[in-house]
Amino acid sequence: MTRRVVFAILLCGGAVRAAAQPAPAPRFRSVAPGQVRPMFIAGVPDGGLAVAGFLLAERPVSNAEYLRFVTANPEWQRSRVARIAADVSYLRHWAGDTRLGPEVVPAAPVVNVSWFAARAYADWVGGRLPTTQEWELAASRFRTSISGDPDRVNAQLLALSQAGARDTTPLAAFRIVSDEGVTGLFGGPSEWVDDFNTVVTSGESRGDSGPDDGLFCAGGAALAADPSNYSAFMRYALRGSLRGSYALATLGVRVARDAPATRSRGPR
């Protein structure tokens, strides 16, 4: 009897410790301010849009980190989350509400996470999701900027991504490191951005030739793309097709934070 009570207390101790685990502190890298040429937007000056410097997590959020999040915030567990906040694919690759299972690599990027969930996670660790332009800025920092020598850098990144895709280990993408020390931007899962719903050119358009003027205000003026940047084009296409509740096996989370000196939000 006594032994059973002691066992119960030990169990409780373990559970309490698990529930009280603090939020993981993301390891941030500094992304220097720069210029981005966004796609599908009219009136961008020749040099591109200025994006303020900010902090971006060195790695995307892992399964192990996300497990701590749902343990501390049960409303984000698979069986409890409201359907409006995450669809039925939410964390479907896990074995249970708070169990990864043998198939899931704890250090691999978590996927099957909705935008609402990604935002809640970022909030929990004291950060936020990067904006589209911040993400693109960070992704352009590979030796020369993409705008500097588009053909060479794009071809190189595409090759790296494809090499990553052939490598079956879930951590392969971490070997692709930007000049600023950010890994996994290429070759791994795509990542949520806070303003994924900014692509205003298609979606509900009924015709094939162009946007329906009644659907979007000024949308008809906003067609402008750089088709040579294939991987960027694919990212914009993906973002334009998403809804906030979608949980996809190819879409993960990365946390950003304002640069400490300025505390200003990036352009939205």
């Binding site: 529930a19 049960p74 409201a82 359907r83 409006i84 609402f116």
Partner: protein, 208 residues
């Protein structure tokens, strides 16, 4: 959105946490039970995600405060000279077309996606200029809550270098529980259909 913003009373949540901590194996069984933990809001209710807004009269409201009545909602910015006034006019026409008994119960909401420029004063000016009556709310929120509502409604918007916005022209109808019943994707809208959806939504509530 963090845990503290969920509508469940804090005491009940703490009690649940305590229960989890005290009997982990039992708690796992509880977690898998199909019993809803957050009151009676439907799974697809927009009101399940908390957000805080300020009306043009300075009053602070949560989206969930609109619970219990049909809502017609659109997102606009008040300095818009193109389709936003058309969106508002369209909603006013819907309001006019409703039978008085239904009209008295429906709320009309304009939510700004330009919180940087749409101060409470700008919202009040807009309400006066458009001649909006007391069934209307014209509201603003933080950039983060603004983005969340846009995502919930499927509204795309983006500020252009000129300061204007590209944006969808969606008008949405929510039922008393905050669930989307109909969305008009364009202006001019299919107004008979929009009016019909508000009527059906209002009647569905009466039957409940």
């Amino acid at each position: 959105m963090n845990a503290s913003e969920w509508p469940a009373p804090i005491v009940r949540r703490l009690a649940r946490h305590a229960l989890l901590a005290l009997c982990a194996p039992l708690a796992l069984a509880v977690a898998q039970s199909p019993v809803p933990q957050r009151g009676a809001l439907p799974e697809q209710s927009l009101y399940r995600l908390a957000s805080r807004w300020t009306n043009y009269d300075g009053r602070s409201i949560a989206l969930a405060d609109l619970r219990g009545q049909p809502v017609v909602v659109a997102m606009v910015y008040t300095s818009c000279t193109m389709t936003c006034p058309m969106i508002t006019r369209e909603m006013q026409a819907v309001q006019r077309d409703l039978p008085p008994a239904v009209r008295a119960r429906v709320r009309f909401v304009l939510a700004s996606f330009d919180p940087a420029r749409d101060s409470v004063g700008a919202l009040r000016q807009h309400a006066e200029k458009m001649g909006l009556d007391d069934r209307w709310l014209v509201v603003r929120a933080s950039p983060s809550d603004t983005r969340q509502l846009a995502v919930l409604l499927g509204v795309s918007y983006r500020q252009l270098p000129s300061g204007d916005f590209d944006h969808s022209n969606i008008i949405s109808v929510l039922d008393a529980g905050g669930v989307l019943q109909y969305q008009s994707p364009r202006v001019p809208a299919d107004r008979p259909r929009l009016v019909r959806s508000v009527l059906e939504t209002a009647q569905a509530r009466t039957q409940k």
